[in-house]
């Protein structure tokens, strides 16, 4: 038990060192990537620019065709995850392999593997679809295409591409269109998806308002008027990200053409940013811990908190800039002090202090604990769509005042009235007793003298 524990520490240390040595690594994890594709649908040559782009950024690819390289399609060796990233191109077959089932995909995803799923109206295999459904992404079924009759008026091919201005990107952490002065239009051709209300979804691009998703008969290439619309207008999404609680990311795009050399010119920047986000080259922040203590610096261990103590809470946040950790700056980080309900919700101030050049110190400044004893949670729950999640919590008891910690009676001015009355009664009583004794001496002296006489 002990041995395995220490060895696991060694492994962690080793991987940490490895991380340090890979100074040119772009993501926070290595970039061993498996690409699964269907050679009946996808010719890798069509995507050479896309792959070249990634390889330039030291991605390490393993390509596996669903038909020919079944032995290569393995996500796990024993319990060990083989790849850090997974890219799935559209796949035509109904089932993929025993290695890629919805459950396995989900397990891989929960184990920290990042996934980029690309589907198309021709290639939407069941495992991928079911996996996406679990995340709350419902891509349109096979042969359903995103159609925009306004954009493609008069076009013979109903399923021809649509354009979406890149400025309509919904999440600035995935793609920050503010830097983009050129009015780039993304060219998109493929499916769209419905989304449910899963709070971990990161919608990136909506379908155009004038679009509709309907079935197109594969043989006649005519819109099947009887088919039910899968999405209408901006109800549909074409690029969707997802980040789970373990900070693994998955992106879905309903178009393989989007990555192709054909559209690469217009789409390349967006694609690059999307891949960067998916494989955690960007939008990654982490906490280097937190600290709370009395305002005068004593820690909780030295002096447990009691009600109405002045304390300070600090939090250290870093951001991955693609190369190293740098301080993360933001003005919307909040701290909560709660016991069932929040007693405080304070916006943390990013101070100018920076620790080791890698993290910003956020602080609440001095604040008073509530006048209520109990077991409180010191919580920072920073979950912004597009950024990795940060949840730091610490449960600490805030005790009541001990019986010696109240004000003494004479320190309370209101009590002076009572104190005066108490002491005046006591002193008057003493005077009274003294008077009684003095006045009674004469009467008691008689029997004393009598007894003396009898003796």
């Amino acid at each position: 038990m002990l041995l395995s524990f220490s060895s696991s520490i060694q492994i962690i240390l080793a991987s940490f060192l490895l991380l340090l040595s890979l100074a040119d690594a772009l993501s926070i994890h290595p970039l061993k990537t498996l690409v699964v594709y269907d050679n009946r649908l996808t010719d890798l040559q069509d995507y050479s620019k896309f792959f070249q782009n990634l390889q330039d950024r030291s991605y390490d690819f393993t390509f596996a065709s669903i038909n020919n390289d079944t032995d290569k399609i393995r996500l796990y060796s024993d319990e060990e995850k083989l790849y850090d990233n997974l890219i799935i191109f559209p796949i035509k077959t109904k089932r993929m392999s025993s290695e890629i089932t919805p459950k396995k995909l989900l397990k891989y995803f929960e184990d920290g593997g990042d996934i980029l799923t690309i589907t198309s109206p021709n290639g939407l295999t069941d495992p991928v679809r079911l996996f996406l459904n679990e995340l709350g992404i419902f891509p349109s079924p096979k042969q359903y295409h995103l159609i925009d009759v306004f954009q493609n008026e008069g076009s013979a091919d109903p399923s021809s591409s649509v354009t979406i201005p890149v400025s309509e990107t919904l999440n600035k952490f995935v793609y920050d269109s503010h830097d983009d002065t050129t009015e780039t239009e993304l060219i998109y051709q493929g499916s769209s998806a419905l989304l449910n209300n899963n709070k971990f979804l990161v919608p990136v691009l909506q379908a155009p308002k004038t679009s509709i998703n309907k079935r197109i008969d594969a043989k006649t290439n005519v819109v099947d008027a009887n088919s039910e619309e899968w999405t209408i207008g901006s109800q549909g999404y074409v690029v969707v990200g997802f980040q789970n609680l373990k900070n693994s990311r998955c992106s879905w795009i309903g178009s393989d053409k989007f990555f192709s050399n054909e559209y690469f010119e217009s789409n390349s920047k967006f694609v690059t940013e999307l891949v960067k986000w998916t494989f955690k080259e960007k939008g990654v922040i982490k906490s280097l811990g937190f600290n709370h203590s009395h305002f005068d610096g004593r820690s909780y261990e030295e002096e447990p908190y009691k009600i109405k103590d002045d304390i300070v809470y600090d939090l250290y946040l870093s951001e991955w800039d693609g190369d190293k950790w740098v301080p993360y700056k933001s003005d919307d980080v909040q701290f909560e002090l709660k016991m069932i309900d929040p007693y405080y919700r304070l916006t943390l101030e990013a101070s100018d202090k920076v620790i080791d050049n890698i993290s910003t110190v956020y602080t609440t400044g001095r604040f008073k604990l509530p006048d209520h004893h109990g077991v409180f949670t010191f919580l920072t729950d920073y979950k912004r769509p597009g950024l990795t999640f940060i949840e730091e919590l610490d449960i600490k008891a805030i005790r009541h005042l001990a019986h010696t910690e109240y004000l003494r009676s004479y320190e309370i001015t209101n009590a002076w009235v009572y104190l005066t009355s108490i002491y005046s009664v006591i002193s008057l009583w003493i005077v009274f007793v003294a008077l009684i004794i003095i006045s009674a001496r004469k009467t008691t002296s008689k029997p004393v003298s009598q007894t003396k006489k009898t003796q």
């Binding site: 079924p141 096979k142 899963n198 971990f200 609680l245 409180f376």
Partner: protein, 734 residues
């Protein structure tokens, strides 16, 4: 029995007789204390040296804290392991008398006598040791009350030593406030009678100090607070006011009240709560009577009559107005709920189900009285009658005690405990009186030898018959103690024996608590019904949500609400409270009737009191108004968390043998289709006899799905949906 000595002419022989008498007394005392102690050791012999039941576990835990941290820290103890997340200001909400006493005993043994004794053993043997002192105090009390009658005194001491009514709360291991409280009760009463008879300020002070000790040990001190003023009040009504009474009561009241206010838990109650108002009122009345008495000696009787009637009327008016006004203004707290339930017997049922739910607060059936006191119970009224024939001041006290307390004991089973001492005293008086008549062999006027013989024979017959009843009583007490009151209820006897003849124990509780202690994170929070709160805290050392200190109805109702809600809702409630594990007690496999399904109705009732729109007792009953758990149970019942947690996998246990899964407590067959899937909880531990079942709350799904969907996905993941249908989704909220 003490022999009646005849006057002897010789001085030395008289001294010898006195010496023999003293020696005999000592021997009798040693015997009584020995009987008291040894009778209470059945549980230790049969089981082991273990703390019993529920509340004692808290007392034990508090004592350990006291011994480890000292008195000052104990007094200011903020316990963050109970009532999560509220915590409990334990030092300010307990009666510290018990803990400090045993802490002191421990201290003396360890630091002065050099006997390193484990604090647990002190706690276990605390009650038997104090029962010996109770016998002593009862001896003194009876002697004081009844003409220094040694026979009555010794008899009452012997009775209280072995009466089951007292043993029920003072066997070894039942380390509860009552263990010390009865001792203090009798001591306080003894000192009060002494003070009242002598008018001595010293004894008044001792009575007050004893009262203070009692206040520090048990909430039942209110009984003394009301009984002594009542006694005084009766005496005044009977026109028996005297200066002795005045000085005794005033000393007792002023010192006792001031002292009792030093207990943090009591605080300002003595001047604010209506429970204490009678003592204050009688104090005022006594001043008035004293002044009136003084004036009476100064002025003529005709004037005095006018004076007295007018001032009485005025005073009563002011008093009533004052109490009503102060209560209305909120300056004096209204009577506490438990107090109400004593008088208005249906009050608790409607307003405070939490009090009604406690089995100790149930009314007492006649058989319990007989069980607890056997033939003392019918000697008891005779004793009261005998006291009436003389009706001295101190007899009034015993009569008032008897009448009031027999009412209280009838309303609440737990108050049987306070009734038992006075039953013993009165019965002892009866028997003593009987023996005085029939064991009197002194020379009588009868000359005839045969007549004398007949008389002696009669005396012998009567005495021996009653002696045999006394022996029968001893048998009864021993049997009751060993069979009914010596189970720790933490460990149970199965009633079967191993091959070597040793009994088979059912040790599920400790097994489960030990599992919790060794397999869960140290800061885990365990939710259970409040009965098990103290045990989890004491044995498993884990944080609990609610426990047997039922001061916060809402918090208890939250737990009840979770238990009576469907799984998803319960999960939500528990997650809000950071719960990690849920513990239920299930007796269906073994036939243990004190399990959670049987307590479930109280959980529903208590939470219905706060969320009447969400939890409705009616919905747990079938159309015919039956409380069922089999296939006819209502859906609400079947979907409730308690049902699911109790019966999870229960039918499957029997399915291998193709037997019906019969719940042996309720005699109901449980079908597997009625016990739904458990999606939000997973079984973490089930004890050997399934009595304790512990479930872990599953983690939140990393993908943010609800756990039912996750479970559905896990179950049907293999069978993939063939047809792709457009999902029906809620409009997306952006």
């Amino acid at each position: 029995m003490a022999t009646v000595s005849s006057p002897s002419p010789c001085c030395t022989s008289q001294q010898l007789l006195l010496g023999i008498k003293a020696f005999l007394k000592l021997v009798i005392f040693i015997c009584i204390i020995g009987a008291a102690t040894s009778n209470r050791l059945f549980s230790v012999i049969r089981f082991e040296s273990i703390i019993h039941e529920f509340d004692p576990w808290f007392n034990f835990r508090a004592t350990k804290y006291l011994v480890a941290n000292g008195f000052h820290k104990f007094l200011n103890w903020f316990d963050d392991k109970t009532w999560y997340p509220l915590g409990r200001v334990t030092g300010g909400t307990l009666y510290p008398g018990l803990m400090t006493t045993s802490g002191l005993v421990w201290h003396i043994f360890n630091n002065y006598l050099g006997l390193p004794i484990d604090i647990r053993n002190i706690c276990v043997l605390f009650a038997p040791a104090f029962s010996g002192i109770t016998a002593l105090a009862t001896y003194l009390f009876t002697k004081q009350v009844y003409h220094n009658d040694e026979i009555a005194a010794f008899l009452s001491a012997a009775f209280i030593a072995i009466a089951p009514g007292y043993i029920s709360r003072s066997v070894a291991g039942s380390y509860d406030n009552e263990a010390i409280a009865i001792t203090l009760l009798m001591t306080s009463f003894y000192l009060w009678i002494k003070a009242m008879k002598t008018g001595s300020i010293a004894f008044g002070t001792f009575a007050a100090l004893s009262y203070f000790y009692m206040v520090s040990a048990w909430g039942g001190y209110v009984f003394i607070t009301n009984l002594i003023p009542f006694h005084v009040f009766l005496l005044i009504l009977m026109g028996r006011y005297n200066h002795k009474l005045y000085s005794a009561y005033c000393t007792w009241f002023s010192i006792g009240t001031l002292a009792s206010m030093q207990i943090p838990f009591v605080g300002f109650l003595p001047i604010r709560s209506n429970d204490h108002m009678s003592a204050l009122g009688v104090f005022g009345l006594l001043q008035f009577v004293m002044i009136a008495d003084h004036i009476k000696s100064k002025i003529s009787s005709a004037h005095f009559k006018i004076f007295i009637t007018s001032s009485i009327l005025i005073l009563i008016g002011i008093g009533i107005l004052g109490v009503v006004g102060l209560t209305y203004l909120g300056l004096i707290a209204p009577w506490t709920g438990r107090f109400y339930s004593l008088w208005d017997t249906s009050y608790a049922k409607i307003h405070i189900p939490i009090i009604a739910s406690v089995s100790e607060h149930q009314p007492t059936a006649w058989s319990s009285f007989f069980f607890d006191t056997q033939f003392l119970i019918w000697l008891f009224p005779v004793g009261v009658f005998l006291l009436f024939t003389e009706l001295r001041d101190e007899h009034v006290f015993v009569i008032a005690y008897s009448v009031l307390c027999s009412y209280f004991a009838g309303v609440m089973v737990r108050l049987m405990l306070t009734l038992t001492p006075i039953i013993c005293v009165c019965a002892a008086i009866t028997i003593s009186k009987l023996f005085h008549v029939y064991l009197d062999f002194r020379d009588s006027v009868i000359k005839n030898k045969t007549d004398r013989l007949i008389k002696t024979v009669t005396n012998l017959i009567v005495s021996s018959v009653f002696l045999s009843y006394l022996i029968f009583f001893v048998y009864h007490c021993t049997w009751v103690t060993s069979n009914a009151y010596s189970s720790p209820s933490v460990v149970l006897l199965s009633g079967q024996t191993n091959q070597d003849g040793s009994p088979v124990y059912i040790d599920d509780f400790r097994e489960a608590y030990y599992w919790l202690r060794s397999n869960t994170a140290e800061d885990s929070k365990v939710a259970s019904w409040w009965d098990y709160g103290y045990q989890i805290g004491g044995m498993a050392d884990r944080t609990t949500l609610v426990d047997n200190n039922t001061w916060n109805n809402t918090h208890i109702a939250i737990v009840g609400r979770a238990m009576s809600s469907p799984e998803a809702k319960a999960y939500e409630i528990y997650k809000e409270l950071d719960v990690d594990y849920v513990l239920v007690v299930f007796g269906g496999l073994l036939g243990y009737s004190g399990d959670d399904i049987n307590k479930f109705l109280w959980m529903i009732r208590i939470s219905e009191g706060i969320w009447p729109e969400e939890i409705q007792e009616r919905k747990f009953f079938t159309e015919n108004g039956q409380y069922r758990v089999d296939e006819f149970a209502t859906d609400t019942m079947k979907n409730s968390l308690m049902y699911k947690l109790s019966y999870h996998n229960f039918p499957e246990l029997f399915s291998a043998g193709n037997m019906p899964a019969v719940d042996r407590v309720r005699g109901a067959t449980i079908r597997s289709q009625d016990v739904g899937n458990l999606d939000y909880f997973e079984e973490a531990f089930t004890s050997e006899n399934w009595m304790v079942r512990i479930y872990k709350l599953k983690d939140l799904d990393p993908e943010g799905r609800n756990l039912k969907d996750v479970a559905d996905f896990e179950r049907t993941g293999a069978a993939q949906k063939k047809i792709v249908k457009k999902p029906r989704l809620e409009p997306r909220l952006l």
